[in-house]
């Protein structure tokens, strides 16, 4: 598998269209993941195709007009080639209307649903409560005020607003349990797989949700075939598929964090023995943080030792918020006031969550590093892996 991936990387990087600094390009593409709004700007990645090869370009543009995934756009502008990849600043972007493409029209209709959900939540609760709830349930982040999302980062709980494993488990479990009453088990499980795919698209197709969905789908399909799966195999297969399709993901922070954190939970957490309730959540946090520490430091520059405490204080609210808010969302699409009632019910927990996050976000990071050398990162992982192998042997 590694060999195949190696070949894929080799061919991919050799066949990339060459783009030089200052070069003017003009291309059409479909936006495949939700642009992120930061302050007065929005940023997204577009696929530039040239004959058979393609290349991802990171585009930064002004906040308005807003671009959504599923949009088919014509982009023209100047390339700015820097050490962190191919970028374009403020190119001319026109939205082209052609919904002949099935992929595009289905993305469009899911996006309409997404916008409906966003307005249901944001017209029911004030910000940041509404955006926190949207983040927890759907991984929707574009409504999050900047100061609050910074506090989430410094206090170490930003991961709760990325759609990932827990969301997939809940969605899949909910559907299969619901339909198992009156359908054949296989069909119910098949429906949960469809539900997971639908949810992943709704959540904006970020690396963390794609990884979790692939793993989740594997678990459910194994159930249809009556087999057991190992989570590790699922993780490896998910990583392989994603990197094969898009080798540039390897340098994506979200992808790195999601994989390394999952691996940490699978390998490091069992060493702490069996736990339940809040202790289990804290040990999950510690395992994931041991595994991801160098990535966090290299990319965000700060790490707060309080983050373990913060996670312990707030994580128990997440499944409750997902359940009540999720049911509220479904009901709200049918009959708005009914959904709003349930969303109101989330408000006390959200206030508690915000209080903790804002308090610890203000205290700030404890370890802060300007630049992290690759030698340190490599050394850290060598030590970590060898320590893990040792402890397995005993």
């Amino acid at each position: 598998m590694l060999l195949i991936l190696g070949f894929r990387f080799y061919f991919f990087y050799n066949n990339q269209p060459q783009l030089t600094d200052g070069q003017e390009i003009n291309f059409e593409t479909t936006i495949l993941s939700q642009p992120q709004a930061v302050g007065s700007r929005q940023a997204f990645t577009a696929n530039y195709k040239n004959q058979s090869a393609s290349r991802r370009i990171r585009i930064t543009t002004s906040r308005f007009p807003e671009i959504n995934y599923g949009d088919f756009v014509r982009i023209s502008g100047k390339i700015s080639n820097q050490n962190r990849g191919v970028l374009m600043y403020f190119p001319k972007i026109e939205t082209v209307n052609n919904s002949s493409n099935i992929l595009q029209s289905s993305l469009k209709s899911i996006n309409i649903l997404r916008q409906k959900l966003i307005s249901l939540f944001s017209q029911t609760l004030p910000s940041p409560s509404s955006s926190l709830l949207l983040g927890i349930i759907f991984g929707i982040k574009e409504q999050m005020p900047k100061d609050f999302s910074n506090n989430l980062k410094t206090s170490g709980v930003f991961h709760v607003i990325a759609a990932s494993g827990m969301n997939v488990t809940l969605v899949g479990g909910f559907i299969s349990a619901g339909f198992a009453f009156f359908l054949k088990r296989q069909i119910a499980i098949g429906l949960s797989i469809l539900g997971i795919i639908f949810y992943a698209v709704l959540a904006g197709l970020e690396p963390s949700i794609i990884r979790a969905s692939i793993m989740g789908i594997l678990v459910f399909s194994a159930q249809i075939m009556g087999r057991q799966t190992l989570a590790v195999n699922g993780l490896v297969l998910a990583g392989f598929t994603m990197l094969y399709i898009d080798p540039t993901l390897l340098s994506d922070v979200g992808f790195q964090l999601s994989f390394v954190a999952t691996a940490g939970i699978l390998y490091i957490k069992p060493l702490f023995g069996k736990q339940e309730g809040i202790v289990s959540e804290v040990s999950t946090t510690i395992a994931a943080q041991i595994a991801t520490l160098p990535i966090l430091l290299a990319n965000f520059g700060v790490y707060s030792i309080y983050s373990i405490l913060v996670n312990g204080l707030v994580l128990w609210t997440v499944p409750i918020l997902m359940m009540i808010g999720g049911i509220g969302a479904i009901l709200g699409l049918i009959l708005a006031p009914l959904g709003q009632l349930l969303i109101y019910l989330c408000y006390p927990l959200l206030l508690y969550f915000e209080m903790i996050v804002n308090f610890f976000g203000k205290i700030g990071g404890v370890i802060s590093i300007q630049a992290l050398s690759w030698e340190f990162i490599a050394g850290y992982y060598c030590l970590l892996i060898s320590a893990l192998i040792f402890s397995k042997r005993k």
């Binding site: 302050g39 308005f64 007009p65 307005s119 609050f148 009540i324 006390p348």
Partner: protein, 287 residues
């Protein structure tokens, strides 16, 4: 199942506590003027004694939402009046987000346009939501049922036409920005947006004087004020809406020194965060 029922009941109880608490703090029959901390830009929120909501400008981004969230009860999702002092990005972009989160009943601005994508988006959303829109000049006023008086003191039509000949706002130099005087019985606050010396002098020559609260124009820019204006307005307190380490070096030492030499107490959003002034119509205090 029983577990979820129990959790639901506890949450319902807590929600009830929050309802009672917020009703007491936000519906206190007093006027609240909040200079929101939105970084480099302006957003001012007013909650009237009877609980109507007025938003003047929205700042450069989403930060205004946090301010609204903090100063309105959670069930109140309506803003009765939204005012844009002038169509520059650091005053209007946040309003677009506000329009997506709140129900806006009416929109008021000066009769100027801008070519930016943000401004076209704002006008598009306002038109889509069919919000009642009015363009105002000096002399127009809104009298609210709770005896709150909102007066437009500048710019007049003539000033608007001289500074922006084609109805298109300039990016620098002298341009028009709504100046709003909020009066509640004996308390008065002058909100100036990005207005500059000439426009304020026009307002003063039409009789504007003696205010309690003065918002320093244009984030403390060099060309917003002079000593003569300050002498006439004689504010008890001055507030500056400004971002930390902004690229324009606002507020300027000239303005800060001027305020200091006249012994006017000055508060800044980059140092204090949101600044809230509360008045019952006779006395006022800073929270």
């Amino acid at each position: 199942m029983r577990k979820y029922f129990l959790i639901g009941t506890v949450l319902l109880f807590l929600l009830g506590c929050i309802l009672v608490y917020q009703n007491i703090t936000y519906n206190d029959k007093k006027l609240h003027v909040v200079i929101c901390d939105v970084g480099q830009g302006d957003a001012i929120f007013i909650r009237t004694p009877r609980g109507s909501d007025i938003l003047i400008d929205g700042g450069p981004d989403d930060s205004v939402l946090s301010c609204l969230g903090k100063h309105m009860p959670f069930w109140d999702r309506t803003i009765e009046l939204m005012i844009l002092t002038h169509p520059h990005a650091d005053h209007l972009n946040g309003l677009i987000t506000v329009l997506n989160h709140y129900k806006i009943l009416s929109f008021v601005s000066e009769s100027l346009i801008n070519k930016t994508a943000g401004f076209s988006e704002l006008i598009k959303v306002i038109a889509n939501q069919k919000i009642k829109t009015r363009y105002v000049y000096a002399g127009d006023r809104f009298l609210l049922s709770d005896s709150l008086n909102i007066q437009i003191v500048g710019p007049n039509k003539e000033f608007l036409q001289t500074t922006s000949p084609n109805g298109l706002i300039g990016e620098s130099g002298e341009f028009a920005s709504l100046e709003i005087l909020v009066k509640y019985n004996f308390f008065s606050a002058l909100l100036t947006g990005d207005s500059q010396v000439m426009e304020l002098k026009d307002a003063i020559s039409s009789g504007l004087k003696d205010v309690d609260l003065l918002q320093i124009p244009h984030h403390g820019s060099r060309f917003g004020l002079d000593q003569e204006i300050l002498n006439v307005l004689s504010p008890k307190i001055a507030v500056i809406s400004v971002g930390k380490n902004n690229k324009y070096s606002h507020p300027t030492p000239f303005i800060l020194d001027l305020l200091k030499s006249l012994n006017i107490k000055t508060l800044r959003t980059d140092q204090m965060g949101d600044i809230e002034v509360i008045s019952d119509g006779k006395e006022w205090r800073i929270k």
